[in-house]
Amino acid sequence: MGYFDVPEIDYTRYSNRQLAAVPLAVLAVALAILGGWYVFTGAPVGLGIEFAGGTELTVDTATDEADIPDAFDEEVSIQSVQTEDNRYILQFTSTDDEALRDQANDNLESLEDADEDEDGVVVSGSSTSASFGAQTQQTALYGVAIAFVGMSVFAFILFRTFVPSLAIVVSAFSDIVIPIAFMNIVGIPLSIGTVAALLLLIGYSVDSDILLNNSILRRSGDFYESTYRAMRTGVTMTVTSMAAMLVMAISATLFGVGLLADIGLILFVGLAADLMNTYMLNLSLLRWYKFDGVSR
């Protein structure tokens, strides 16, 4: 039924070790990236201006993109907005938003149809002081930690057995670490939006793990039959969410709505990692538990 169906994988061909090796290797690489980042930059992830402090201005200007840096005394990073000609998102490490705003208004040409008595070329701006950013960082760290611990405890309460609960916790951990490493590689800094995405990922990614554990542990039937039943549902779920998030990431990027773009992209990557973690790592742990672990 359907135009696509979830393929049935012949898990008997692979040993538990083989199955677990791939996701564990990917997790190790991801952790190595974070470690390397920490050694070289002092933080495991690149921090966005909301955490590190800095200023972001969105400007509507007739000035060419190439000439924008000349308008400012500060180093500037420029991102153009696809759906809106002449709109640019500028980021600075300085927190003196008033000086930057003045420089923008003085040195950037306003659009012809712009309203003269409006506030000039700057249509939106945000500025975060370093201390405010540091405090936000701490809050974000607490938030992710509390969420993760809470989820882990909940998983243990749900299944009340060590190995299957641990499988959920390990794969959720990997689901968070892989997208963070991905962010480092492609150069997306950690922002409020990406933290939200990571937390949502904890909630989302555990769904398919719970489904798999439930199907194998609490339901009758042969191991592989149960696995396939859970996979059909779980993969559909994850792929649907991935589709939604990818589309959201692309459209929000085109429209220049950074928050939604960040959330979409991180969830897409995290859910892809979750497919691997659930049906390779979690599954191998469960199979070991079911066939070897219980009898001990």
């Binding site: 249509v123 405010f132 405090q135 769904d207 779920m237 792929v239 589709a243 928050l259």
Partner: protein
């Protein structure tokens, strides 16, 4: 089938329809479910932290100032979708609590602290706790260290060490500041302003949102402590001039709007002084007495030549001082002098305060009405966000488009997977019903919607469809559903997974709903509410719809 059986069989669907209906009313009927704005709450960062938003004395709380005219829906938009400026700044100051001070020494201790730390009157504050009878001392200055504060307390004979001093100010001070800022922005004619406090990483920030102004304009307005005094500037001994504060903030009663005085080509703010005509002499009587004693009403009439070196030792001026700076100098007029000399002025104590420009007069008037800020804000360590209404409007459209595109993407995948309209169509409709109910809820409680909330809505559609897929697969597994009993049993099994999944999502997002992380509180609240509505209302209803479509009744 009788009505009772019908209700019994389809109560979940009926419940869904009722909820959607109520939500639509809340969304589209002008006035919504609660026509009276007074019950409106505020779902922003404020709500969690015990703010005093609605506790303003003059009824200018958030509820009353939220704009209710929002076009064709009852939705209230947050800053990122409505335009405006927000500045979050910590308060300058430190506090020592639980101090044992004899109430009779209160003034003496305050004076010692002021002298020891070399601070102005407004930067030292002693409060007595009504219950424990102990005192709390606060100092509002960046130039005083905790050790210096403790030392000054000891010098004043108070038993306190450096460990008793903590950075930050008291809740009472923050509450006063929030009230003052609220009335300041209301007095400045900005409706729709919101003021609250937020605990970010253990430090309290005062968060001010206004629909207009650039961040700098807002900072200027907020960095104005608004401390207004009238200072008598009169000749002392040996050709010098002496300054003496004769009227303070608390001495002013009714404040009238600024007026233009064409004779002097300057602006005036007419005020009344409180405590006139009392038996034992209120501020007005004291002021009158002091003016007579200092000679303002006799040789000083019309003799103001402020700032002129040649007039040194001869000038009689009444200075309007705001935040320690002289904004205007005035001489005593003959009419005022006469009525003061006759000791009749205090029966109707009217007085005008001068200002050079209309803007100064305006801000003087605002400061007089709103009162002064108890402590200054630290704008070195602030965070600001601003967005023009035009861009915010574009974001509204974009959000809607992104939402619609995401729903289409989800629908597409679901249809491709099942290729059965009977399964897929109700899935999409149910997920949309969830969004409608949630929107209705947001409109009913007047929760301001910004971009983070939009992300929450999209997250809700995502989790919602996930759960519907679980239900559909479970119900249709192991062959056709041919009896109600089989259906119910499978549905219950599916529901265990859904409940567990909902639990994890709620646990994962609950820290965000409580912590102040950017604007994410709204995102977390919307997502958690959506998951709850989904588990309790829409997902069971989807099960009923599927049963109706799939079983041979």
């Amino acid at each position: 089938m009788g009505l009772r059986d019908f209700v019994k069989a389809y109560w979940r669907i009926i419940l869904l329809v009722v909820f959607v209906g109520v939500a639509l009313v809340a969304l589209f009927i002008p006035g919504g479910i609660f026509a009276d704005d007074s019950i409106a709450g505020d779902g922003t960062a404020a709500a969690q932290n015990g703010t005093v938003e609605n506790g303003t004395e003059n009824g200018t709380g958030t509820a009353a100032t939220v704009e209710t005219d929002q076009g064709w829906t009852n939705l209230v938009y947050g800053l990122s979708l409505d335009g405006g400026t927000r500045v979050s700044a910590p308060v300058v100051g430190m506090t020592a609590e639980g101090l044992e001070i004899d109430p009779s020494r209160e003034t003496e201790v305050t004076r010692t602290l002021r002298d020891e730390l070399d601070l102005d009157r407004e930067n030292v504050l002693l409060r007595q706790d009504a219950q424990s009878r102990t005192y709390t001392a606060e100092v509002f200055s960046e130039n005083v260290s905790q050790a210096e504060f403790a030392g000054a307390l000891q010098a004043a004979g108070v038993d306190a060490t450096e460990d008793d001093v903590r950075p930050g100010v008291t809740q009472a001070t923050r509450d006063e500041m929030i009230r003052t800022i609220e009335s300041k922005i209301n007095e400045a004619g900005l409706s729709g302003g919101r003021v609250s406090q937020a605990d970010i990483g253990g430090e309290y920030y005062i968060v001010t949102e206004v629909p207009d102004w650039t961040p700098q304009q807002l900072r200027d307005q907020l960095s104005d402590r608004g401390i207004v005094e009238v200072v008598a500037h009169y000749p002392g001994e040996n050709g010098t001039q002496v300054n003496e504060t004769v009227l303070e903030q608390g001495d002013f009663g009714r404040v009238s709007p600024p007026e233009y005085n064409s004779e002097r080509d300057s602006y005036e703010v007419p005020v009344t002084v409180v405590g006139g005509g009392q038996e034992n002499g209120g501020p007005a009587t004291e002021f009158q007495q002091r003016m007579n004693d200092l000679g303002f009403t006799t040789e000083g009439v019309g003799q103001c030549n402020y700032g002129n070196p040649n007039a040194e030792g001869e000038s009689y001026c009444l200075l309007t001082v705001v935040n320690g700076e002289v904004v205007d100098s005035h001489s005593m007029g003959i009419d005022l002098a006469n009525s003061m000399r006759a000791e009749q002025w205090d029966e109707d104590p009217r007085f005008t305060m001068g200002a050079q420009t209309q803007q100064e007069a305006q801000s003087l008037s605002i400061n007089l009405r709103a009162g002064s800020l108890t402590a200054p804000l630290d704008f070195e360590n602030d965070q600001s966000f601003t967005i023009q209404p035009a861009l915010a409007d574009q974001f509204k459209v974009y959000s809607l488009l992104i939402g619609i595109i995401s729903v289409i993407a989800v629908s597409g995948v679901v249809y491709l997977r099942y290729a059965d309209g009977r399964v897929a169509a109700p899935m999409i409709i149910t997920a949309l019903a969830e969004v409608v109910i949630l929107l209705g809820f947001a409109a009913a409680i007047r929760m301001p919607l910004g971009l983070p909330e939009v992300a929450g809505f999209i997250a809700v559609v995502g989790t919602g469809v996930d759960d519907l897929i679980i239900i559909a697969d479970e119900v249709m597994s192991e062959g056709d559903v041919n009896s109600r009993r089989v259906f119910e049993s499978r549905f219950r099994k599916a529901f265990w997974v859904i409940g567990a999944a909902a639990g994890t999502t709620i646990i994962a997002l609950s820290p965000l709903a409580v912590l102040n992380l950017g604007d994410l509180q709204g995102f977390a609240i919307i997502t958690i509410l959506g998951v709850l509505i989904g588990v309790l209302i829409t997902r069971p209803a989807y099960g009923d719809i599927l049963r109706y479509l799939l079983t041979d009744r």
